[in-house]
Symmetry: C2
Amino acid sequence: MEGVDYHADERSKAEFDVEAMKIVWAGSRHVLEVSDRIARLVASDPVFRKDNRAILSRKELFKNTLKKAAHAWKRIIELRLSEEEASKLRNSVDEPAYTDLHWGMFVPAIKGQGTEEQQQKWLPLAYRMQIIGCYAQTELGHGSNVQGLETTATFDPQTDEFVIHSPTLTSSKWWPGGLGKVSTHAVVYARLITDGEDHGIHGFIVQLRSLDDHSPLPGITVGDIGMKFGSGAYNTMDNGVLRFDQVRIPRNQMLMRVSQVTREGKYVQSNVPRQLIYGTMVYVRQTIVADASTALSRAVCIATRYSCVRRQFGSQNGLETQVIDYKTQQSRLFPLLASAYAFRFVGEWLKWLYTDVTQRLQANDFSTLPEAHACTAGLKSITTTATADGIEECRKLCGGHGYLHCSGLPELFAVYIPACTYEGDNIVLLLQVARFLVKTVSQLPSGKKPVGTTAYMGRAEHLLQCRCDVQRAEDWLKPNVILEAFEARATRMSVACAKNLSKFSNPEDGFAELSADLVEAAVAHCQLIVVSKFIEKLQQDIPGKGVKRQLEILCGVYTLHLIHKHLGDFLSTGCITPKQGSLANEQLRSLYAQVRPNAITLVDAFNYTDHYLGSILGCYDGNVYPKLYDEAWKDPLNDTVVPDGYHEYIRPLLKQQLRTARL
Amino acid sequence: MEGVDYHADERSKAEFDVEAMKIVWAGSRHVLEVSDRIARLVASDPVFRKDNRAILSRKELFKNTLKKAAHAWKRIIELRLSEEEASKLRNSVDEPAYTDLHWGMFVPAIKGQGTEEQQQKWLPLAYRMQIIGCYAQTELGHGSNVQGLETTATFDPQTDEFVIHSPTLTSSKWWPGGLGKVSTHAVVYARLITDGEDHGIHGFIVQLRSLDDHSPLPGITVGDIGMKFGSGAYNTMDNGVLRFDQVRIPRNQMLMRVSQVTREGKYVQSNVPRQLIYGTMVYVRQTIVADASTALSRAVCIATRYSCVRRQFGSQNGLETQVIDYKTQQSRLFPLLASAYAFRFVGEWLKWLYTDVTQRLQANDFSTLPEAHACTAGLKSITTTATADGIEECRKLCGGHGYLHCSGLPELFAVYIPACTYEGDNIVLLLQVARFLVKTVSQLPSGKKPVGTTAYMGRAEHLLQCRCDVQRAEDWLKPNVILEAFEARATRMSVACAKNLSKFSNPEDGFAELSADLVEAAVAHCQLIVVSKFIEKLQQDIPGKGVKRQLEILCGVYTLHLIHKHLGDFLSTGCITPKQGSLANEQLRSLYAQVRPNAITLVDAFNYTDHYLGSILGCYDGNVYPKLYDEAWKDPLNDTVVPDGYHEYIRPLLKQQLRTARL
């Protein structure tokens, strides 16, 4: 029956105002209004349908993405959308496309690294999409270690040009999105060489394709790198390979905001501080954390709704039990629900941090930069890892049907997981955090006060010997108790690492040998940041009936599930006792019971359209089984009753005519 | 250069005889010989190529699988392969196909549940593939809870027939492999109803399609359920949907070995014990554990080889450092390598267990069945979960390139993960184990001696109060020390659960409320089984230079990484002290250093052909980058330099002609 809400009973159980929670999730009433309006616009436009992605061939899929990108641009112009609305629209289309890189990497690279003059020349072209750009950094043999890139840009003073060249196979640019088939231009990272001297990696604007007929310019070999994880997913995108054979570009296409090459071929630094590029990193990673909360919340929304539909075993009024009523289901699902909210709030705080860092940079204050850099690196790492794992866990929580493409979870996973690798491999980033932590610890005796998210280490003396005074399960609901436990754990792990490192005569040998421990210390520190930002959020005024109460419950779930999961850390550092660990677990179980009646409304608060969610299991009205059944028949294999191949490959078997069959 | 081994240096470091290790891995010299010969046969046959799977459309992919299945059957007949060789050949083809279900479920169901007469009628047809069968159990709304299935088989005494019927949408059969487009017959599970009485779920042989033209028989609606996770992967297979509208079958097509319906419609039990079906379960789950070690070892092989090729940061003779030299890489990869070996040995032991159980059943001895059932359920659960997670971890260990389809890891993951759900959802299975453990604990006071893998609980009194006497890191290498720590942990967790359960007035309420803790206790018990079987293996005579030594190192890695990972368990139960936990970690690091020079040879010992491995990153000769580069150009998107869609969707943007373009 059309229009029936099969989740109505579930929704009626909610103990809070879902509309108010939607505003909290969106960040503001304004953002909610824009998101909601644009998401509905996209959902109602047939060009943006995405339920056919899995059955399109690579070429069809790619062409369909080109169509959507062009259509999106057309709608943006026709409707005179603001920058905020346009960005939201691209986001709602929910399909990786070359435009992501054009707007998300090419334009920002020019803005961040180009001179005023360069910006004036290139940005208007890019803004109007008269050129389409990508970001060509990684190479076939080089990823994390940017300083190891092999592509060269050699200055030729004779012609006032740079010669861009790929000296080896492994120097082939590899992975840049939008490069393979679409981009007309790229910001190419290459070793700058003047007069035989290597000045390290710099960015250059290089035209790749003719603006007349789109054919690659002389000396340029470019193509797509082939299929990636999953069906649909990033196969909509032309990640590319690119080789240069002595390609010449004018000198003024080196991005010269920070360092320059003069007409005479002299390499000079400008008075713009190099640290500026770290500001961009903080920005990019902040968006990655925000995206983590979005991706995780989508998966949680699907798993929560379907867990209310699905029934297995037991008995309730003659029906089997809804699987969401099982504690095993709750103990896996609700921590992910809580994590989605936790990541949302830490993402919100990172936006503030970015603004703060930017203002300080403009005032030539670089004092908070190392801490901000470590903090965003670490948060990028732990939120993306938890989200990738969480999406797959949500798929498993949907039982067998989670394996169907139309559950939406396989493609969500396939699209999401690169976030663990791009913009800094998650383990490499945690090692950077660890390095910062060890340095912070080593400076404590000198009286240097740790700042920002490491401020708690200023109380190291106390944190190294404090004892948790939890005596009853409810004591674990006190924010101060939680905070001190996480601070003590993080401090003790960092200090232990520093102590063990000091036993090595060569610190770098020690760092290498103990790196697995260092990663764990970094995780402890980063989890503390998320916990503390969640607690800070709850100290704000949060309007709406019951909204704050729900967030307090979720904060409890988030923090206590971490204690349970990392119990070894808390016990081995003596931060809590086994008895206290067991009380935390008890309290956690009781919180699950409190989440249960609100679960479906807590995911409704994400305000996702069925189009955006892209999941039959997660559809808003809960009418899952008829929709699954109808969906099945759309598969091309069902075009005919007897499959193509029957006469060649099945009938000869059945008729025992295999020897004579032509196979 | 053709024929150059880029891993030659790595291979020369090995401290053991790889040929001897191959025999250990395969299980015997004979099995190694057969596997090796058949794998090479398949690898050299162009019909069995699989590197094009990702770019085939659903229909092409499916048809290609039909072709391979027919070709495999043809080769099996032509070469007069033995059953062992035939099974190995199907396995080496390495592509999910309807034949998996025909041979793996349909035939065994008839063998296990059919009478002598039924076996004589149906098995010869199935063996010759004159009929093709599938296993139709799960329904759209029913998975784990078999007793909840809705399909009915009502006996009609008038005609001596059963009427098979799907009374609701949710009773539609859903998921059976081979059902959608191929199977002519199915073993259908349905509620048996005679004279209005419901006798629960029974199996029936039902013909689905005409043997003349393959069209569905009257009353049967059948089709494919659509795309599943990933590209390639299980999309080669026609998992199906099936509805019955009052379909009539003769009475003698009910599988009647255990219970029967007479001509008069009387329901009677035969003298064959019902427990026989548990024997089949033990068999199926044993194969799943063996498959886990295979899947995990493939992923580990790829990640290990590529970790030797890939270099990032640092410097060694002017080159960057091989990533396998990083302790962070080792601490993630080597425990998975050790797990692959551990699962291999526990799988071997399960084969023995199955034989033992079968012999006992034949002698009407059911005493070991509950323990064997719990043990196989638990091992199925923990090995498949660890393998699924491990494959994805291996993908991440390959950096960005692991995301390419041609790394082989995306498809390996997509093909593998259903193992966590089918044949018993992993969490549901662990709850069954927990139930058995709690029962075992509760019977201890009565003096009932626990048997088999729970025998250690007979020493509960000692295990509840013993103290680990590790004082130096090397003490953790003693098998007895390890074993006692794992036994103490498992006992204490089970006993604690039993104690907490006793506080509930209704035991089932307690079981539900504490189920998350119960799952953890079950995991502890199952990990102990794997650990103890690894240790038992090492007590055997193992020939070959250095082979046993390598296995001892791997056993140490396997056990100590578990202690590190589950440190919370060991500390909170007081089995070990924080100091001992830290010594375990120290010993683990030292073992990693011992694995390092042997890593590549330890994965060579799996003896996988490049065809079977299906991974450019994992290719035997290590010549990764040229192969990746060449592979890229094969993508259909590279058929043309200017992509299809340029004129419609890119050019209008660049030329600012969007308003006038027809989109």
